[in-house]
Subunit: 186 residues, 3 copies
């Protein structure tokens, strides 16, 4: 049915449109625009495993040292790491990148850490880096940290990463599963 | 050429427009979408206050140690903390969360620090975390740092936090007031 | 008043709408909304250069110390810095701000670091700070880190910074060129 329309009606339509229209060249939504799952493997230097170690204690409280994690739930230990990232939970799988940065145990009465690190990729699959920061109350089954930025394939990314301790062997080895959910993709 | 147009055609146009736009489910503005004020309390370990201490020196320059903040305005001291967060300026108020992370004194000629930490909440009021990073020229009455991300109730938050030193007692206790202003709320 | 409207007029309306239908008070695009180039200069304390040093080793692995960067590509060394920022590559140019924060060497088999720092400006040109985080595989000619936030003139900024080693003199002095490209400007 063809009809004449009034100018005021047209304006009304236009206003309706304007209020809801937001042209954007990147995706931003409450459901992730990108999801990835990785594992990384941390082997702390204990004075004897120089060859295999991927991490080392480099800061300690007055009551600590650099080869044994301190008492009081390791409070005050700063650990630097360069850990292999794998697609499955096997330490011996071919790494697809490196997790590089640090964690600091920061609570006296329960294992808790603060993380600042990057995933660095340079493979055919992924090039670039993803930067993470946040609190890791590591006795919780899952805990969320922030994806604060990215470069290369992950240019300007933001999101949340869910950490799960996938394995924990004494005080030398642990493996984290990381579910990355990006909510800003450029 | 002037023509009558059908209402359905008009709707078609409108839909076309709408579908190419991306309505956004989060708020983003120059006035904060969320404002909060908290205090947190830092008691540095000095070799004698093990029970009360909420923070410890874990890194020091060549001329420093782990129980006394170094000369030259503490340049080079890395301090790890797990500080109670309160709603008012009373150290003995019931904590509503924990401020966890680190600061590094990073200037020789005036007190200045660099902060990387999180507010971690797990109460009926708030669940989740807010992540902070930035320079803290702590002799200034107010100074701004960045809110780089958040999780849980503060999912994907970004903003600015204004720090004010609310109290400073010798070199063992200080209290910061933190005015959080989020400009990205999801 | 009811009128016939032409299709071309309708198109004109629609174009008008599209081009103006961006209710956002900040710029966000794939080409930078702001570009800046700076240099900063890092002189590490080596036990003898107390006066000139702008940085100091404050964390070291079990096999390291605080006046000499450790073997194994300095793996585990945490360095705190307060470096002058200049507009050109001359250490003696008038600083326009300070680069403040830390880096951690985090790889055993090649020089690589993780950076957390801020550019702090307080000049007639710029007031405010820019916060950076990310991995720095420093043997690469260029490497990208994230701008995770900013304050003052750089309120809520996000972007990418490209680092280039502009000079490297032994293990005491280096100069970085930083090309800052902001993609979110408020």
């Amino acid at each position: 049915m063809a009809v004449k329309i009034s100018i005021s009606a047209l304006f009304f339509f236009c206003l309706l449109l304007r209020s809801s229209a937001t042209p954007r060249r990147h995706i931003r939504a409450h459901h992730p625009c990108k999801k990835m799952v990785f594992y990384f493997h941390d082997i702390i230097y204990n004075g004897k495993n120089s060859k295999n170690a991927t991490a080392a204690i480099v800061g300690a409280p007055a009551w600590g040292n650099k080869t044994i994690l301190a008492t009081q739930n390791h409070f005050g230990n700063l650990v630097v790491f360069d850990d292999p990232i794998t697609l499955d939970n096997n330490l011996h799988s071919t790494p697809v990148g490196r997790a590089q940065g640090f964690y600091i145990y920061d609570k006296k009465d329960v294992f808790t850490a603060w993380l600042g690190f990057s995933f660095v990729f340079n493979s055919t699959e992924h090039k670039g880096s993803i930067n993470f920061a946040g609190a890791d109350p590591l006795m919780n089954k899952t805990r969320d940290i922030s994806v604060t930025g990215g470069t290369g394939d992950f240019f300007m990314a933001r999101g949340v990463a869910t950490l799960m301790t996938d394995s924990f062997e004494g005080e030398v080895y642990f493996r984290l599963r990381v579910d990355i959910k990006l909510y800003e993709c450029w």
